[in-house]
């Protein structure tokens, strides 16, 4: 590769709001999205909430001349809703389905049935290896009392961990998607601190679009303004994030968002705003990792955010165990009730009442059994993430503060390792 190597990459990201039967004017919006993508001819279009595989197939056919490579990430029962269209050949792809993704009994929220995931594409562009990730995290239904907070934190952590482990040979990493996280939320900070990804909106000098880069805005006719309260100008939850490894540098030349309207016809493409970024990759001399200049171990941004995440997970583990214990008691109660009903029915006393109560009792037992099983699994998923966070925290502390007192810890398996080179 020449020393004056330079690569321009035009990227499009949109949460398409493509829920069959529920999303308004879905067919029309998909058609206009296809027309827009064909006209703009991006290098890469990364979409979320394409829940219907028929919609993907429609777009694939429509976009074939401009984007000859496409992939739909299948997972869960409904699907991840993630898909990509690329002007360049997709060399490889894989995906990771998040361990925790809400609760199956919260049917009206539906996230559990989707199998939320992160998809990875590997592209080779002019000899450069680009790992492009697309994801969609669990929705936030109530910011004041967010029962999914811990799940979203674990998803952000798994996303960061997946990027960390699969991008070691990549020259450039790109992550697009709907994180359902505000920029200062715990999950977002955790993701950025552990991966070193940079936020296109914060980095670019040429931004055009909605106020404060918001990707859900009150001007959009599909958005319920009450749900945006108290954020009067909207919320920023969709992102274009990137980083380059040593030897390359990447910058965001321009970033645009739609502003509640279709760029041409006036009617919006989705209830989210689209992000359109022009990135520039260049050769650069190797640089030191910024993590080593962040101060002492305990107040470094990574350590602070890891400790915060651990506190959140500790609470969530306790809550999962509480629910499993509660369901355990209900199982006991259900078994007792069934035994009483059987005795009553066999004895001939109040037979009809006993038979009538049989169905709800069996239902209670099965329901409690399912809830017990689910929360035991949830606790395991949370403990797994906690163990990973604890391990990284140990290593981060030693990387920042490798004094002689840390030597016993080194012997116990927390040696400063490849963090600097992986960042």
């Amino acid at each position: 590769m020449k020393p004056n190597f330079s690569l321009r990459l035009r990227v499009f990201n949109l949460n398409c709001w493509g829920i069959p039967y529920l999303s308004k004017r879905r067919g029309d919006r998909m058609k206009r999205l296809g027309d827009f993508l064909n006209m703009e001819s991006f290098d890469l279009a990364l979409l979320q909430e394409v829940w219907s595989e028929q919609d993907f197939q429609y777009l694939k056919q429509k976009l074939l001349p401009t984007y000859p490579s496409a992939h739909y990430f299948r997972s869960g029962i409904i699907g991840s809703g993630l898909c990509v269209f690329s002007k360049h050949p997709i060399q490889e792809f894989t995906q990771h389905v998040y361990t925790l993704n809400g609760y199956p009994y919260m049917i009206h929220h539906g996230d559990w049935f989707c199998g939320k995931a992160v998809g990875l594409l590997v592209l080779h562009l002019s000899g450069l290896v680009l790992n492009a990730y697309v994801t969609h995290l669990h929705a936030e239904y109530n910011r004041q009392k967010d029962i999914y907070l811990a799940h979203r934190v674990v998803q952000a952590w798994e996303l960061a961990h997946f990027i960390h482990h699969t991008s070691k040979k990549a020259d450039v990493v790109l992550l697009c998607g709907d994180l359902n996280l505000h920029p200062k939320d715990l999950g977002c900070r955790l993701l950025k601190e552990w991966t070193g990804l940079q936020d296109a909106y914060l980095e670019t000098r040429d931004f055009k679009g909605s106020e404060e880069g918001c990707t859900m805005v009150p001007e959009n006719c599909y958005v319920n303004r009450k749900e945006l309260h108290p954020f009067s100008c909207g919320i920023r939850i969709d992102y274009v994030l990137y980083k380059a490894v040593s030897g390359f540098c990447i910058s965001c030349k321009t970033l645009k968002t739609t502003t509640g309207l279709d760029p041409h016809s006036g009617s919006p493409l989705s209830d989210h705003e689209a992000l359109m970024a022009t990135l520039c990759v260049r050769h650069s001399p190797p640089q030191h990792s910024p993590s080593s200049t962040h101060g002492t171990a305990e107040n470094s941004p990574l350590v602070v955010v890891l400790r915060e995440a651990l506190t959140e997970l500790d609470q969530a583990v306790a809550q999962a165990h509480w629910w499993a214990t509660f369901a355990g008691y209900v199982i006991g109660l259900g078994l007792l009730l069934l035994a009483v009903l059987c005795t009553l029915a066999a004895g001939g006393g109040v037979t009809e009442v006993a038979i009538l109560l049989w169905t709800p009792s069996v239902g209670l037992l099965l329901g409690a059994g399912a809830i017990y099983t689910f929360h035991m699994q949830e606790a395991k998923g949370l403990c797994k993430a906690r163990a990973e966070l604890q391990h990284v925290l140990g290593r981060a502390r030693e990387a920042q503060d490798p004094g002689p007192e840390s030597q016993p810890a080194l012997i116990l398996g927390h040696q400063e390792g490849s963090r600097a080179e992986d960042q």
Copy 2:
């Protein structure tokens, strides 16, 4: 690193048969396993079927002086059963839980509840990056009529894919575990062909142990001889596999197995035999990938095994759809039955019979709903694996046969890529 660099690695692998309440003499066997591991002081001990976290904690305490680093891979409801003990610091770890892992209604087999997975450890040994993987695939209960064959093939594929995507910066890759696959089974061939891993038993010149390297042998008192039929000397389903990337070479100096007896006391450590390998890593000049010398595209071993796997998955997808359709009809029937029962009960005719049939009808409906949901999810998982296999098959064909006729395929996104360098 010096040109005469050489590293010796002693590895231990055992499926521990540690099922609480069910496995015979579990406590005693765990104690003796701990004593043996302490005495032998391997570099790495990789264990499967440590289903009880208490057993892991017991071993962790016992092995602490010799193996200061340890990790237990949590997943699913029961757990993956995987754990590792290392003499060297564990730099990083992560895991992948297999998408498909049997059927929840096959409770007596239990695999679905375990969350079978592959665990990854990253170790830095004398400047060399070692990625060590440990796994346990779905059990084979009936070789003649194996209803889990497709699931095991998908697991083997996901295992290979996970290794492929996470080991790109590793110098040496090691995979140990109970694959529940015979050496010539489809899953085993798929794994070896796609990753380029070599089998310690086939490679070593110094093997001591059970006949034909079997890891379940009739001499073991915990093994049911009938289950081994028709394999009179046993079966080989546990493996030590390895590879080194360009610049290094790895060889297996010695491989030992136990032979149905504890190496010291005479009583076996498990129903499986332990594998003990001494591996040697050395510097070596870069070599060409052997895949380019395997003949024409259609008869190369990788293409042959990919096609075979695709045929298997096609059948499995059709079967999953058949079950989902069948469950759909049962749901319809259940709803009809409930409507009839409600009408009967409301009309006052044969009320008692109607009430009596209420519970089984609701049960039928819920059961069919669960089966429908499960098989729809199974079909999605199979389709996901099939798409990955098809993509790799396309690339493998072009890598082997890059004639001018393959140019249209290149434009359509199947360009020969990093396979050679990743092998």
